[in-house]
Symmetry: D2
Subunit: 268 residues, 4 copies
Amino acid sequence: MAGLEPRGLALGETEYTTMDAPTLRVTIWNEYLHEKTNEAVKLIYPNGIHGALADALTSQLGADVTVRTATLEQPEHGLTEAVLAETDVLTWWGHKGHQRVSDEVVDRVQASVLEGMGLIALHSSHVSKIFTRLMGTSGGLKWRDVGEREIIWCVKPGHPITDGLGDHFELAHAEMYGEMFDVPQPDELVFISWFEGGEVFRSGCCWRRGKGTVFYFRPGHETYPIFYDANVQRVIANAVRYVAAPTGCPSITSNCQNTEPLRPIASA
Amino acid sequence: MAGLEPRGLALGETEYTTMDAPTLRVTIWNEYLHEKTNEAVKLIYPNGIHGALADALTSQLGADVTVRTATLEQPEHGLTEAVLAETDVLTWWGHKGHQRVSDEVVDRVQASVLEGMGLIALHSSHVSKIFTRLMGTSGGLKWRDVGEREIIWCVKPGHPITDGLGDHFELAHAEMYGEMFDVPQPDELVFISWFEGGEVFRSGCCWRRGKGTVFYFRPGHETYPIFYDANVQRVIANAVRYVAAPTGCPSITSNCQNTEPLRPIASA
Amino acid sequence: MAGLEPRGLALGETEYTTMDAPTLRVTIWNEYLHEKTNEAVKLIYPNGIHGALADALTSQLGADVTVRTATLEQPEHGLTEAVLAETDVLTWWGHKGHQRVSDEVVDRVQASVLEGMGLIALHSSHVSKIFTRLMGTSGGLKWRDVGEREIIWCVKPGHPITDGLGDHFELAHAEMYGEMFDVPQPDELVFISWFEGGEVFRSGCCWRRGKGTVFYFRPGHETYPIFYDANVQRVIANAVRYVAAPTGCPSITSNCQNTEPLRPIASA
Amino acid sequence: MAGLEPRGLALGETEYTTMDAPTLRVTIWNEYLHEKTNEAVKLIYPNGIHGALADALTSQLGADVTVRTATLEQPEHGLTEAVLAETDVLTWWGHKGHQRVSDEVVDRVQASVLEGMGLIALHSSHVSKIFTRLMGTSGGLKWRDVGEREIIWCVKPGHPITDGLGDHFELAHAEMYGEMFDVPQPDELVFISWFEGGEVFRSGCCWRRGKGTVFYFRPGHETYPIFYDANVQRVIANAVRYVAAPTGCPSITSNCQNTEPLRPIASA
């Protein structure tokens, strides 16, 4: 990406920005716990999952995007009002630290989504506070981690998130997620996964919440190099474009009292 | 209703039960605040909005239903684990006491809905904690209270909640609620309201959450005798039947770990 | 089924009726071609697929249902105005005779669905005239017939069509249908199939059309004894109950001209 | 629009093209009957409704769009295979000539939509052959033409079709369309209209069919200058961008036989 300048902070706190504007402003959030304590994970994601995603988006979207990262252990988890105000799309990866995310930050992220910020919830974020907050359900599912094969099918022809894909793609080794998946029926069901052990899963789903769009995408366990997969990267890059910065009519996010009538009222 | 025996507790704590079983078990929740302090409201709903709704459901549904009531000021707001375990449908009316509902009870009610309990959210409950929890949105809208005329149109032919209705019905005087209504697009849009002052509103909406169904129904401001209206009563009675006691396959409401594969796995 | 009296007409024209009323009136339509010419199919379905389905529904639903059958080669394919007027639910099985179904009968069946008759389209009926007419799409899909294993997952907890099922069931040998399935996104997605060869399929889907409900159910190739499977029978019986005889507000099925205003018009 | 060159054919057969490429290629179809025989209509739309729409789109979208027109009385109604092959978005206006549109052309347009061509159905096209073909329903509704006031509310915050609009806009005089509107529940409900006489209507709706998107937009009776209204023009221009040229994964529009398995099959 032309103009990319990693600011070179401490590992895991790296920010990526560009000189070019206007671009889609993406904030990549990662709890960033496994990578610091689990040697196998550290080997796969030496700069953290957020680092791998930042590289992927900048390589996929180039000058169209400005990427920054944020992690659990930063003040306010790196998601201050100021950061969210400058974020068009927030991607979220959490796993074992869900309960450590403060409710105040969850409130703030939810409010931003209702105002139009896109949210891409990845893999184990299905039970993150922010995802279940926006769904109204538990996000529960079945899982099994034996490194089985996954085939991901497109079921929504022409959907922008499938741009550049064929009708399916494969992951040689993945954690399994199986139905039921406790989410509201998606507004758009984009992908369904097949697993070698016999399960299926609604792996790519969009929901509208206020002015914002939430995209859930299943792949991405920390012990597999899935975020280096070209198709996975393509999906996430497509999703960034898709959920970013809606330009239509404004939303309402709290009650508007004593609205003036547009027409005279006789019956009162 | 054959067998109905109001147990004659203090005003507002009345329970209605029947001798007959099995019936749909309905719990009518009302914050029960306006009726105790506002003389005009007390005049309209001398036994509380919950009392009026209890009468309405027993007269509409007879022996098919067992009705009990619960209010904000009861211990645990009257919604203990035991009560919810015996509830097929919970109706909810709140207004100025939303913030006084404890998060613990909201958690409990949400869990019951995901397990299959139906929830009917009435009028100003659009910003109640339980409704917004299940929606993931703010529930915000426009409002104006000048007693204008409302016409409610059925837009879902054959929907069970419209049973016995024509294509529309009218309320002579109502508080206005106008779009935008900050909710997810309903799974089923049943009613749209027309207001004399020029607004429209999605007045009857169903959403599935887990195994449960949520029905939002707009009419019902405390200063109008709307819960005595025959059509309104019919809608709520229909909705009780519709959202009660789904009998289909079970839901998942938390993660199920280490699921056994159904087919042998070779790739791992 | 108490009161069942097969009228004992020629093979394939058998009608099943009961003495009891009121019951759900089901008409089972089958093109009834393979069973008369293909010895293997004849062996599996000696009374035709319609005969097997009639037996299944009467055994599953007993006195709650009155079953009659109709086939392609009958006058008007057995679907006269009179028959449709007495039909609450029509099940459809067609395969190689789709183009022999007259457009006039398709018009008639479509009109009945819009007025509230339920339609259950089985297996290869995905490209029948009546199904694609109601969908507005081609119904196209991928297929392969090598007798592979299929696992059918419930993805809609509490849906009446899943009543009595666990979270999945299996078919040892089935024709494969794979995505993309060219249909509108279902109003309710109930089942997703897993196939041994790597594909997935939206195997159980509901759509509303006018006052009627259409349910598509994938299993049922003529060369497999799938309609004798207990789970398949249960699904079809559940679906009969689910799509039958909506009692809500009426539909509109043609333009209503010069509607009288409900409120005075000043602007004209 | 830079480069616009009306080719100046006979009235009603005018084609608008540009020198610039690549642009969105829009074909504006109009039955073009009222304008030739009704003096009042001719006065409002001297170049036909298609001429007014062509001017509107070129003025709204400039060099981003190439516009051509087609009418009922042209050979193949102006919608040859060649024209459709060069069309990204087709807008449709018909009223009294619906039955004169050949089924062959309807088949062709439907096939193009399934392959990804956008379709914008305007006003009385709710009962056109192509719209009802894609819906599977009658398109029936209530109507009254007394020139009453209409207020159109946005109910989908951030939807691209509402770009540049506030939360509502008004038409001083319009034909009324009222619910029920016999269409499948829209995938996206964008606008709801309020009418002075008491009705409401789902005035802006999107449905996906195959790879294509259908947008229905209510305003536009031939006896009102509605297609000159700035908000109406903005909506149609937004819709052209929204439904044009999806770039995602391919659709299936007929059966694909004997698909090769992706994984070995043991059970057969």
